[in-house]
Symmetry: C2
């Protein structure tokens, strides 16, 4: 085997080497290749990170000498040497995985400083304050990433405390008021502190510094926040991170220096204009950490038109080169512009849509690429969360519009508590309010409806993360004062305590009083255009799961091409109908039962007429009654309690007691696997006959009113072909009689849900009696795993945490197991009925990975809730794109 | 296509034509072929019956002229003609299906009698009484089978009433006291009655009589009792019945005439001696209907030594020819012996075993044939029901030992009520007590523990049926008087009313006072010999499902080769342990939980030591805890009621309330699919660690005591390979530590149950971490069908009645559906681990058809309850017999 090349100089690599060099490294190489002003450096491959992990946290033997060789090249390029007592080189050591994980892993800057090089650098720059500032930052950073542990005091925070104490002692308030001597004293204090905590001196050997930093970055791949991020983003843990070692340039050497972050287009709204922030006399971390509120990039045009021009030219060059919006870090060192990194820009959903559509119009990309660039989650952001039009609300303050969308929730002041109470926790609506956020807050941010911060810019890490996940965010709202300790914040005189409602509009940066109504947006403009493109590209049809005329109308507006699942029993729950249903269930004789069913018939027929009209000629798959009848009766436990209480008090209620007896007699140990679905239809055939009558008579009435109805009657929970045969015979008899009597022709079909494993296994038998199959993947997942959805939380959570399962199988189809049954059923079904129509109507029908899977195995359609219809259209189109290499292979 | 041959003369066919000619027809042909004195006749094929049914109850066109041709042959043979006014032929028309269904279908005798032939026959025989008796029987019988309907009075019973009335009028008590004139009057009364009820005269045309009779027999294939019988015996409804038309000979023409039924060996105990009954001056139906109590065949030797010798020679010839015990009907007409039919004799289980073993010793059959001849149900009879040795009991009366085995139950006087209350109904122990039984009583007999009749012989239909199904029966007990109307019977002065306990010993014909203890028999003699043969023949290993040392010892005595399923949680239910288990469940912390687990450890370790000792070196598959923990806590509904009652009374019970809160918090909607099996082991790893410790420490202790232990630790309810990996890692760690510390070597294995569909589908992944698979077909059936066993009765019963399912899938493996998953799992499992040990431990493991299936698909073993072990041994041997054509292809 050829020797593994673990280290690539920037000039050796290119943008296609993301697997080996990570996103940042590949881009640095590419930028170097296309002639941008990139400081020299090299990249250690992601495989080396895995080697390090596999060796139990050891660098491969001989690795540091490989580093020295590469370093020599950089030293030659820069004309400086690491650790040189005369002309020392400083370098940065940065993580860089294949997929961007902003702020999740560690970085070390100013590496190469020690007591010797500090002196050389002072001599060279004549700026002792800058050098000691760099040195104290380096001491702190290296300790924080490499040595900090729960049982020592070497975290960044511990060093900040020492700095604060010193500032108090010196009588100054802000960092920049501390002069060179002060910083020199701080460096000494840091060194003493390090020796005390670490049991040794801070390493003065620059190569040791380098090795320590590289190992720390490797280790940071597996820190908790990185793991959580990857789990959320479905990034494989096995990829590893690359490490980029690059000559330092400084934005904090004075007022002719600066640093910034910019996007080639507006990542929030998508407008085609350079968008970013910078700070003069600062290091990059000052901008991204959100501690100081930076200047908008447009100010640079007045402050330094030459640099501004140079920078915007580079932006244009980069966007043309990558045909994609770039997120760029830059530094100005004594008036010279350096590009430190570029990467594909994260953006909001609306921005993603606008940018993709704009780029097609600009000729930069084609329609397929545009479609491939929108993630379903981004599209989802376009569909959710605006304040209900016409709502009157009070804006208490304004901050930066860091994440679009409106959100409302109870104010919570720490991420841990937000995670506990919010989404994925107790399910309360939580709005996270923080002075500033840090990457450690990730879990809490994900659990929140929205995020509000006192400090931090549009590009602060937390804002970026929140935006990436479509969480409405208002950042840098300096009008508020957050008092996390006392669990409250103030706006002027107004105090908002933990648990009180607060709202934000992330699109406008507004902080809003109390709770407001939040509604979904219209689908117009670029959004509408993109959606039309997806319809051209996709092969899968998209239907909707809807039980009311209103839902049907909404889904059709969203592009649904029919109903995939209309749950007829939902129509039984309405207030005026439930007593009739109960009376039907309590009936002792068929005749009594029929009286009640006749009443229900009138309701259901009307429902169907309205649904057919809302569909306006689109097909409707209507499922016959499915849930156990006891679901329509009062709760058994409540009844037991009521009756026992009455009895103990010497009272009696014959109606209650009769109901209790009935509910007891119908009680099931495992109702999910009991008398429901087609089993009900066989034990109580009158119900199905009523439903068939309602459907067919409804279709006739709709047709008479000028709207063609295409009912597809679906028999649920079939496990044996004879169930379907038995019911089909009775359905057809009823239907034919009604149709014949009406003198009309009604084009109806009869099919079945495939949701019992046995049905999938014997689909060849079943397909002989079914014109269509619809996979009920909720139940199919329940039965295939033996998981009751009502009870599985208690073990599914630990299962996912312990990585026993890759994810919740009720969210995304388990292709390995449940998928096998689906594929068996499709193959067997079509073996006897080649034109069998096959779709899916479980909740997986609206989940992109499942939709892609349904496309791949050749289903005809997916059906999902109305609000998921646009996402399904997009996912179906993405699944059918000719070049699938464009999709992320996480 | 060649013209279908619908009619076969007896001399044209042979015994291999059972498909076409039915059992009786094929035997009549065979007997004719080997030269026995069989009256001439022909057989209409079973296919013609199906044609008749398919034509909607119409004979194929031209069929009656085919009949005439065949009849001409018979007429030539007998020198008589049907309907001839001078020398008339009379024929019988009998059903005869491929598999014997005694008394289930219709028969017409004396066909060919009319007002004209009656006169000819009187002239010919000079016996007017016999002729009118035959005529009145024929009138009654043809009306009963062909014309009787619920809305007329043409059933046998209606004619009996007329006869009774006449006897009263004539002042006589028994039939034989009515003279020729009386019977002539009766014939006239019958004809008037028939005209009134039927609206026409009784058909005088003999060919019309013949056609009516043939059609009636065809129709009787689908009467209710025939259907029930076929369902019980698993005979296909599509076979149809043949019809045998045969010249009549008469046993009722005087004292030199007679008729009888005999077996070539004793069908109750299996002794090698001709066994049967006969009546002089009687027709066959008098013997089999059980109205007159017949004479034992041995009496014939004294009464007519020549005929007796001739008959026993025929018996020997037949047994040698068929190499099987024969059930023979014979008639003596004026001193001439005729054989009317022979067929393989039904027999009791003990008789079947004795006969098969004897025949091997006699050189008539080989071991394989002997094994193939014992049905698992017959073997089952050898295993059940004797009165507990040493029991003192009072014999109230003695009858015929018609069905061996002891039974005890409440006296019930009609079959309908027995069916309602007994097995398959409310599940009470019922003893059916009848004056005599009729084929209509079948359902009630099957529901009873035993049957007691006042009248009827050993070969009465009902006794035969009861014996065939292993139901202990005492028949013809003339000491009792059954008063069905008043629901009681008397023995002397003793009155036993409905609902009072009564017992019988069918082996000795004893009627026993009250309830007695009934126990299972020893396994010795022929039984033991047969069992040894099965062990030589079978390939499958047989294990047992046992949780206690007692059960293990019993199973080993029955031939079990190890434990296939030891359910460890059953050990938690004992009185002294349950509070500890409850305390363990109520624990708030891991430490609290551990305290309780340590207590349980001591118990479980002791259990395992005892089990290993009882196994004496045989392997033991031990399943880790499986049921949801709330099964160990009090019932939720009871608690709700108790607490509500207390509260309503203003009292409070903090312990109860805490328990209620805990039970509520652990309550599951579908516990079958909830936190149980390996899910428990992952959420509460301490429990499994305790169990592993108990198993391994128990094995060490057993080994130290000199008994090798071979534990196979089984992880239940695995659905994803990672579950098994996760648990296996922890198990092995615990086990290795203990083994290492002990200084012993313990040969243990770790494997899994396959009971979740997903496990079967991903068995290739799972087998990489499992040394064995055991199919938990109970749960696998539940999940594959989506049937909760606890709740499925409500629809499984109608499903089986409506033939939606061929049978209860919890009884016999559903090979079409569940079987597919099993086969997938075996194939995939062995693809990665060729030596994977695969067995089955669901209740199907003791069911013969399922065992044959397990053999066929290559499993290594089946495991069943101790009492099923011998049956499993037999079924496994039968499955491995080289020539499977010997098995019934019902």
């Amino acid at each position: 085997m050829a020797k593994l090349k673990r280290i690539w100089l920037f000039r050796e690599g290119n943008v296609n080497m993301r697997d080996e060099l990570g996103g940042k490294g590949a881009n640095l190489a590419e930028m170097t290749k296309i002639g941008l002003p990139v400081p020299a450096g090299f990249t250690i491959t992601t495989m080396t990170c895995n080697e390090y992990t596999d060796l139990g946290g050891q660098l491969p033997s001989g690795f540091m000498s490989e580093i020295k060789t590469a370093l020599a090249d950089v030293e030659k390029d820069m004309g400086k040497k690491l650790g040189d007592p005369i002309n020392p080189l400083l370098v940065s050591v940065r993580s860089g995985a294949k997929f961007s994980m902003p702020g999740m892993m560690d970085t070390v800057l100013n590496l190469g400083l020690n007591d010797v090089t500090v002196k050389a650098l002072i001599k060279e720059t004549g700026n002792a304050r800058f050098v000691y500032d760099s040195y104290r930052r380096f001491l702190m950073m290296l300790c924080d990433v490499a040595f900090s542990k729960p049982d020592n005091k070497l975290a960044k925070h511990d060093f900040e405390v020492i700095f604060s104490d010193l500032k108090k002692k010196l009588g100054v308030k802000i960092d920049t008021d501390v002069d060179a001597d002060g910083l020199k004293e701080l460096v000494d204090l840091y060194k003493v502190h390090i020796k005390k905590e670490l049991g040794r001196d801070f390493p003065q050997d620059v190569f040791e510094q380098l090795q320590i930093s590289i190992e720390a970055v490797f280790r940071s791949w597996n820190n908790d926040r990185a793991k959580i991020y990857r789990q959320r983003e479905k990034i494989s843990d096995s990829l590893g991170t690359a490490v980029n070692i690059q000559a330092m340039v400084f934005g904090n050497m004075g007022q002719d220096c600066g640093t910034g972050v910019a996007f080639t287009r507006d990542p929030a709204a998508g407008h085609n204009q350079v968008f970013g922030e910078y700070l003069m006399d600062a290091q990059g971390e000052d901008v991204v950490a959100g501690v100081r509120t930076p200047m908008p990039i447009s100010k640079l045009e007045t402050q330094n038109p030459k640099i501004y021009k140079e920078f915007t030219d580079i932006c244009e060059k980069l966007e043309k080169h990558y045909r994609e919006v770039q997120d760029i870090e830059f530094t100005i060192e004594h008036g010279v512009l350096y590009i430190l990194q570029c990467r594909t820009a994260k953006r909001t959903g609306p921005a993603a849509v606008k940018i993709a559509v704009d780029m097609v119009h600009e000729g930069l990309i084609n329609i397929n690429t545009a479609i491939s660039r929108i993630s379903p989650d981004q599209l989802d952001q376009c569909l959710h969360a605006i304040i209900a039009p016409g709502t009157k609300y009070t804006v208490l303050a304004k901050g930066l519009p860091a994440g679009p969308g409106a959100a409302t929730g109870i104010a919570i002041f720490d991420a841990h508590r937000a995670a506990e109470l919010g989404k994925g926790g107790k399910g309360q609506k939580v709005l996270l309010v923080r002075a500033d956020t840090s990457p450690d807050d990730l879990k809490g941010i994900l659990a929140s409806e929205g995020v509000l911060t006192e400090r931090g810019g549009m590009t602060s890490h937390a804002a970026l993360v929140a935006r990436g996940f479509g969480i409405p965010t208002v950042a840098g709202c300096s009008a508020i004062r957050v008092d996390a300790k006392n669990r409250q914040f103030t706006i002027g005189n107004k105090v908002i305590k933990e648990g009180e409602f607060i709202s934000i509009n992330g699109t406008l940066g507004e902080v809003i009083e109390g709770e407001v109504a939040v509604v979904d947006p219209e689908m117009t403009g670029e959004f509408g255009e993109l959606m039309k493109w997806t319809d051209k590209v996709r092969r899968l049809n998209i239907r909707t799961n809807a039980d009311t005329p209103e839902d049907v109308a909404l889904a059709v507006k969203f592009g649904a091409e029919g109903i995939g699942l209309c749950r007829t029993e939902h129509m039984f729950f309405a207030t005026e109908r439930r007593p009739i249903v109960q009376a039907m269930i309590m009936s002792e004789t068929d005749a009594e039962r029929q009286v009640q069913l006749d009443k229900l018939l009138a309701f259901q027929r009307k429902d169907f007429v309205q649904i057919f009209k809302a569909l306006n000629g689109l097909p409707a798959t209507i499922r016959l009654i499915d849930p156990p009848l006891h679901e329509f009766l009062p709760n058994l436990e409540d009844l037991i309690e009521e009756v026992a209480t009455l009895k103990a008090k010497g009272k009696s209620d014959p109606v209650k007691e009769e109901m209790l007896a009935k509910v007891r007699s119908m009680h099931e140990v495992n109702p999910m696997m009991g008398l429901r679905g087609c089993r009900l239809s066989i034990v109580f055939p009158q119900i199905v006959e009523m439903q068939t009558r309602a459907i067919i008579e409804g279709a006739i009435e709709s047709k008479k009113a000028g709207v063609e109805a295409l009912p597809e009657i679906m028999v649920p929970l079939v496990g044996h072909v004879n169930e379907l045969k038995w019911i089909r015979e009775r359905l057809e008899k009823t239907a034919k009689e009604i149709v014949k009597k009406s003198g009309q022709t009604i084009d109806y079909k009869i099919g079945t849900m495939i949701e019992i494993p046995r049905a999938a296994l014997t689909a060849d038998q079943i397909a002989q009696h079914a014109e269509f199959f619809s996979f009920g993947t909720n139940d199919l997942t329940q039965m295939t795993f033996g998981y009751s959805r009502d009870d599985s939380d208690r073990f599914l959570k630990p299962y996912i945490e312990e990585k026993i399962l890759p994810g919740d199988p009720f969210e995304s189809i388990d292709q390995d197991g449940v998928g096998q049954l689906i594929e068996i059923a499709v193959k067997k079904g079509r073996s006897v009925r080649p034109k069998l129509k096959v779709g899916i109507c479980g909740e997986h029908g609206g989940e992109p990975a499942s939709i892609a899977y349904c496309h791949r195995i050749g289903l005809d359609y997916v059906s999902c809730s109305p609000y998921r219809v646009p996402i399904a259209r997009l996912a179906a189109a993405q699944a059918n794109l000719p070049d699938t290499s464009a999709s992320k292979d996480k």
